[in-house]
Subunit: 155 residues, 2 copies
DNA sequence: ATAATTGCATAGTCAAACTATGTAATTGAA
DNA sequence: TTCAATTACATAGTTTGACTATGCAATTAT
């Protein structure tokens, strides 16, 4: 039993559960690739296209670090670069077909681990999981909507 | 819109939501400490006490790496080591009072970010979030129960 | 037009992870 | 019991990878 504990239904508890679910799935899906690279692929996929500096910001790393990461992904043929017609300084990064496939594979590998768990649930429990997914999705929508209100912060 | 997509209510979607929620909270709570160290504290807290090699296993790193991490935590006075009376080779790691406080602080910092989000929800929505927390907790219970059945794997 | 800014790349330093190996304690077999 | 095998952890040395500082080219502002 953990020493520290928190009330039921609290935000802290949700975070705790989310972190542990993440960790469990990561632990039980052996994936040869560095997770940091997969996250970059995932971000580019989410945005359709992205700039190096944007990726550095969301990945919480410096811009040179992201530059080298992207170079590695490009060397593997998973990311393509095209110059932005509106701004010749910037380079728009997109996923290649192979990059999409690798990302899909990574996601499927992780999903299978979770599916194996859900297979041990009965129908109403699985329905609860789907409801939970929708609920957390709604929470994320609020987060992303909220983000736009605070984009002018002091650096 | 992302190129790759998956069906609603699927395990993949749950993982996606969970990862993004995690990332959003991490991104919006500025914490001066390396997250890897907090995760170690969290694991020791979860187990009450732990060995270096156990922590290395769950943290997906080599044993020497975990040794140095633990040494850093011990140097900060957050982790205490005691020799296992049943096995003089092993050292049992526990959280100190300060370590507990640091961990609680880290969790509270992250929780506040999520609470700010939930404050923008109405009562029934918050109730849904609590239900989601319980559901994912149940999923984790299945995971942890399942773990005991596969502890004799081929390395 | 020129200064300031922005986006990315490169250079160099440093922290941190890994492999290989060593030491001490425990377990098992002859 | 005694000696080999195993286990838990620590140490040494190498290498990967992240950061700061800086440079160059394109863009924006005055």
């Amino acid at each position: 039993m953990p020493k520290s504990d928190h009330g039921p239904g609290s935000a802290a508890e949700l975070l705790d559960v989310v972190v542990r679910l993440n960790r469990w799935v990561t632990h039980h899906s052996d994936w040869p690739l560095p997770l940091a690279q997969v996250r970059v692929l995932s971000q580019i996929d989410e945005w359709g296209q992205a700039r190096t500096s944007d990726l550095a910001r969301v990945e919480h790393c410096s811009q040179p670090t992201m530059t080298t990461r992207v170079q590695r992904l490009q060397a593997r043929g998973w990311v393509a670069r095209a110059s932005d017609p509106l701004d010749a300084r910037a380079t728009m990064l997109t996923l290649t077909e192979e990059g999409c496939a690798v990302l899909a594979d990574a996601r499927a590998t992780r999903a299978r681990v979770l599916e194996a768990l859900m297979a041990r649930m009965d129908a109403p429990e699985r329905e609860s999981v789907q409801a939970a997914t929708r609920t957390l999705g709604a929470l994320l929508d609020i987060a992303y909507a909220h983000r736009r209100h605070e984009q002018n912060k002091t650096p």
